[in-house]
């Protein structure tokens, strides 16, 4: 018996002992297992160009896609408003999934309700679920706003949110003047970034365009403020705080729309804050008067940004700006729009990032990377790698569109380090597996699920993306701003150095290169 009270063995060690190993060998008899030689043959076959070709010929099956569905993004955006309870109309299991997913990434509570539609609602529609649900949520959780979105069930049966909310108000579920913005967020269109876009547009439309016909439309009186939209972002806590710091440094009057940086980073001090921080509803309404709106992620705001532009504002979008040039562009845009000067402190921060790159670039230069993730994140990271003299050989985005593909190819073509690099829209991580076997790279950048690729192909994984379930707290550090660029640089360098050490640490064999100074 290996187990003992003094040194308790858990799953990491317990099953490695002879008792369990023998037991598992005996179990095989009942499994009718495949011939190990055949398993080995197929395993090797999956690494070939022939397999890659068949894999890329897939038309219907998705295997390990790197995207989630719309309502997740809607919930993420909704909690960025003060006192706002996301309410997802449809089946309840979906909400359990969004909450779990967000909690596993942020290690934080995630509050959201469902209208719990079942078979009868599938037949008769979910109006009663909406009426009862809004009333219960309002009474129990005392929100300042309830932001409604939909699961695919409600979308397939065609429930009309606008009409349902109106009826619910007539029935007294919530006061007539209580804010209930909504967005249809069908899971079979787009991805979580689409849901973010739809929800945010729904909320702005609600406040700016007359609250679904119950109030006069706001008349825009331009002021000097700038609105910032972060987009769906696993690093929202660190990133939005960094953006706010930069805006404060520059003295720019601003509103962060969907600011969920507080609610996903509350303290443990004896109190559970179901709501915390967030864009105030007043600020959300007044955001119409801003001079301009900046989206940090173009493909998270494909509908929202044109909507804002229609209201007369200047709009600018970025693609998850990481590193020197992208941050330069962002800072210069802030200065141009606001008319404010760029403070010396930012120049110094920039200089420190240049300094760090200069110190370390020899280790990154010429290294090949594969990247996957949301379209903007992929673009931002690829641009930074090019800037570091690295080659973003495979850039894959399951939820990347044709337009994303074109823009990526332009970026890659713009740099000598992008030659021979390819962008792959609509592909999944099983495609990436083939790419890594047939055209190996030095490092892989992606979310937690990249660990399966790391295991299978031996490509070291640098965890940047969403979700990251198996490493803690990284969402609290920014990737944006010069400081964020430094953080990304350090993440990459740490992995490069760890790999160098791993490859040179065999005593008496390879450890002549096990250098003490790198």
């Amino acid at each position: 018996m290996a187990q003992s009270a003094e040194h308790v063995l858990d799953h990491l060690e317990l099953f490695r002992g002879p008792e369990y190993q023998q037991m598992l060998v005996k179990k095989k008899i009942f499994e009718n297992p495949r011939d190990p030689a055949e398993v080995e043959r197929i395993k090797e076959w999956t690494k070939t160009a022939e397999y890659r070709e068949k894999n890329f010929a897939r038309e219907a099956l998705a295997v390990n896609p790197a995207k989630a569905c719309q309502p997740l993004g809607a919930v993420f955006a909704s909690v960025g408003f003060e006192g706002t309870l996301p309410f997802v109309h449809g089946s309840q299991g979906c909400v359990a999934y969004y909450r779990s997913h967000l909690s596993r990434h942020f290690k934080e509570p995630s509050s959201c309700v469902s209208s719990s539609m079942t078979e009868d609602a599938a037949v008769f529609g979910g109006l009663n679920n909406m009426i009862d649900g809004l009333s219960n949520s309002y009474n129990m959780y005392k929100p300042k706003m309830i932001a409604v979105s939909t699961t695919c069930m409600a979308e397939v049966i065609g429930d009309d949110l606008n009409a349902f909310i109106k009826t619910s108000k007539e029935k007294g579920s919530v006061p007539a003047d209580f804010d209930v913005p909504f967005a249809h967020t069908p899971a079979f269109v787009g991805s979580h970034v689409t849901g973010y876009d739809n929800a945010l547009k729904g909320i702005l439309e609600h406040f700016w365009d007359g609250k679904a016909g119950t109030a006069p439309k706001l008349e825009r009186k331009q002021n000097g403020a700038i609105n910032i939209i972060g987009g769906f972002d696993g690093y929202t806590v660190g990133n939005l705080r960094e953006i706010k710091r930069i805006l404060a440094l520059m003295g720019i009057q601003h509103t962060i729309l969907a600011d969920n940086s507080e609610v996903f980073d509350t303290p443990t001090d004896g109190e559970f804050r179901m709501y915390d921080g967030g864009t105030t509803l007043e600020d959300a309404a007044n955001a119409v008067h801003a001079k301009a709106t900046i989206s940090m992620q173009q493909w998270c705001t494909e509908k929202t940004l044109p909507f804002v532009a229609e209201h007369g504002q200047d709009v600018v979008s970025f693609n998850y700006p990481v590193g020197l040039s992208a941050t330069d562009d962002f800072i210069v845009a802030l200065s141009r729009i606001s008319g404010k000067e760029i403070p010396e402190q930012l120049a110094r921060e920039r200089g420190r990032l240049v300094d760090a790159i200069a110190d370390s670039s020899a280790h990154i230069h010429g290294k090949k990377f594969a990247i996957y993730g949301d379209p903007d994140l992929c673009y931002g990271l690829a641009a930074f790698l090019l800037e570091l003299g690295a080659e973003p050989t495979h850039v894959l985005s399951t939820n990347g569109s044709k337009a994303w593909h074109e823009k990526m190819q332009v970026l890659l073509a713009s740099s000598p380090f992008g030659q021979g690099c390819q962008a792959y829209p609509g592909r999944d991580l099983w495609h990436m597996r083939s790419l890594l076997f047939t055209e190996p790279v030095d490092f892989l950048i992606g979310n937690t699920y990249g660990k399966y690729l790391e295991r299978d192909t031996g490509t070291p994984l640098i965890r940047i993306g969403f979700p990251v379930f198996d490493r803690h707290h990284h969402h609290r550090s920014p990737l944006w701003g010069y400081q964020g660029g430094l953080n990304v640089l350090v993440k990459i360098l740490d992995k490069i150095f760890d790999e160098m050490d791993k490859k040179t640490n065999v005593l008496g064999k390879t450890d002549y290169s096990f250098d003490i100074i790198r």
Binding site: A2, Q3, S4, A5, E6, D10, H11, F15, M23, K27, F30, E31, N32, P33, E38, V39, I42, K43, T46, Y51, K54, R58, A60, L61, A62, V63, N64, P65, K67, A68, C69, Q92, G93, C94, S100, S103, R104, P109, S111, V113, S114, S116, T118, A122, D132, S135, N136, M140, C152, V156, I157, A187, F188, V189, T268, G270, E271, F272, W430, D456
Partner: protein
């Protein structure tokens, strides 16, 4: 007000531990007082609801009365819209729980991308196999429905998907189709597709499962549907003279309802084999199609998660004459009781084997209890888990001197509450069925247990409140918790949760103690 009254009764030393968040309310109160307090608590939470909702929720909350045959709550009823139920759906019950762990089959999440994505690898169903080649548990196969699939139907796409799986994953031993919500709404005929493709592939096992998320009231119906799919698409297709690939023995048993979370089924199997039984199948953790197919040859089905797999156990009893027996491998008291119960179905050789196993592990049990019980004695626990653990883990806590003061099921039925009342909970335990965020927070805030055991959605809520927490679905990424080996881990984990130094640091030293503030606000 009530909490304040209770506090006044405490001795100064208890007050002290109270400030260190180590209190145990139950110690100084009579059963009658606890009952009154719990009833008052229920009244308090019901006040927040609109009248209609209060009436409905009242039926799900109760204070257990010793001697009653059940816990006095309604269960397995639709959740109320907008209350923040913790429950999931039928798809979660089928793909996530029952089918997903079968390792040599490909499970397609059929519909939009989300369901498969959110349930990808998160349940920790351990298995041994070459993932992507002959095992597929931690892969996310989905038909990733687009608008055109909704409009024109998804059957043609499904046909193509099955072909693509056959080509790219040729060593799969079977395929299941796990329906997401839209499938049942758009009128797809996945059964017809399954039949046709099975025929085309020479009788390949292809199982359509109608576990659309809107069916039923929770995960529970998904379990039932998944069980029925095994019956209809695996058992009913077995050749009547089909011989198992192994020579039967009188000691063949199947483990039913163990999902091998963190290796639970392994730390259970080892005990059964040590007592002389032979495990011919695991349902479904680290399980395979061959094991499912061989199960009708078992002499006894032993059932851990009654809630999710009683259906197929009953079916095998009726159709194949296989008896089944429930058991509980949490904590040494229940393990010993269960080993003897299982042995009771066999001859003296096995009965002696059970005694031998109990004796063998007694020194480990003694050492674990000697080490951890003094650190956990008298600590109170509130549970809220799925369909088995709200009762099954109580014995393990009691073996460590701890007391469960509140429990409830996410998707239990009345037969679960009967078992709970008759074999597990103490008089005056607070019972909450399909509890929601509001109620659970309120109960915990007022009862101040030393530990809450529930799920990921609850974890951070209670930790923010300064209450130690363990996830009791996933074992908080630890485990196994089953069996004697698992009990040592369970004890270690509960100790590290409750006695972590961090809980004494939740309040800044320059601010008054959080509990005192809570009392002042009463």
């Amino acid at each position: 007000m009530l909490v304040a009254k209770v506090l006044l009764k405490k001795s100064p030393s208890q007050q002290l531990t109270f400030e260190g968040h180590q209190m145990s309310l139950a110690t100084t109160q009579s059963i009658a007082e606890i009952r009154a307090r719990n009833k008052e608590l229920i009244e308090e939470v019901l006040k927040v609801y609109p009248e209609k909702t209060a009436k409905r929720r009242a039926k799900h909350l109760n204070v257990h009365q010793a001697g009653k045959s059940d816990c006095g709550v309604k269960s397995n009823i639709k959740s109320i819209p907008g209350v923040m139920t913790i429950r999931g759906c039928a798809y979660a019950g089928s793909k996530g729980v029952v089918w997903g762990p079968i390792k040599d089959m490909v499970h397609i999440s059929h519909g939009p991308v989300g369901c498969g994505q959110y349930s990808w690898g998160s349940r920790r169903n351990y298995y041994v196999g070459t993932t992507g080649i002959d095992s597929f548990v931690t892969l996310q196969f989905t038909s990733d429905f687009q608008e055109k699939d909704i409009v024109f139907g998804g059957d043609k796409k499904l046909v193509k998907i099955l072909d693509e799986i056959q080509e790219l994953f040729p060593l799969n031993n079977g395929i299941t189709i796990q329906s997401e919500c839209p499938i049942g709404l758009i009128g797809d005929d996945i059964e017809a597709v399954s039949r046709a493709k099975s025929k085309e592939y020479g009788g390949k096992t292809i199982v359509p499962v109608r576990c659309e998320g809107f069916r039923g009231v929770s995960q529970s119906l998904g379990h039932h549907i998944a069980n029925d799919a095994v019956r209809d698409w695996i058992f009913d297709k077995l050749e009547s003279d089909g011989k198992p690939t192994f020579e039967p023995t009188p000691y063949d048993v199947a483990i039913i309802g163990d999902y091998n979370i963190g290796g639970d089924a392994w730390s259970s199997r080892i005990l059964l084999e040590e007592m002389g039984l032979r495990v011919i199948a695991q349902w479904s953790g680290d399980g395979s199609l061959a094991e499912l197919e061989a199960t009708p040859k078992a002499k006894l089905n032993i059932l851990h998660c009654y809630r999710s797999m009683n259906y197929i156990s009953r079916h095998m009893e009726e159709k194949f004459g296989i008896p089944w027996c429930e058991y509980n491998f949490f904590g040494p008291s229940k393990i010993a009781e269960s080993l003897r119960k299982i042995a009771g179905y066999f001859d003296d050789k096995i009965k002696e084997g059970a005694e031998r196993v109990i004796e063998k592990y007694q020194p480990l049990v003694n050492a674990v209890i000697a080490k951890y019980r003094p650190r956990l004695e008298g600590k109170t626990v509130m549970l809220y888990v799925g369909g088995l653990r709200p009762r099954h883990v109580i014995g393990a806590y009691e073996d460590l001197g701890m007391e469960v003061i509140g429990t409830g099921y996410e998707f239990g039925h009345n037969d679960d509450y009967q078992r709970t009342a008759q074999h597990y909970v103490k008089d005056s335990t607070l019972i909450y069925d399909d509890v929601n965020g509001y109620e659970f927070e309120h109960f915990v805030e007022k009862l101040q247990p030393d530990l809450v055991g529930s799920g990921i959605k609850e974890k951070y809520v209670f930790q923010k409140m300064g209450v130690p927490f363990r996830q009791m679905h996933s074992w908080d990424y630890s485990g196994p918790y089953h069996g004697y080996d698992g009990f040592a881990i369970f004890a270690r984990d509960m100790d590290m949760a409750i006695n972590s130094p961090v809980w004494k640091k939740t309040k800044a030293p320059w601010k008054e103690a959080s509990r005192a503030k809570l009392l002042a606000a009463e």
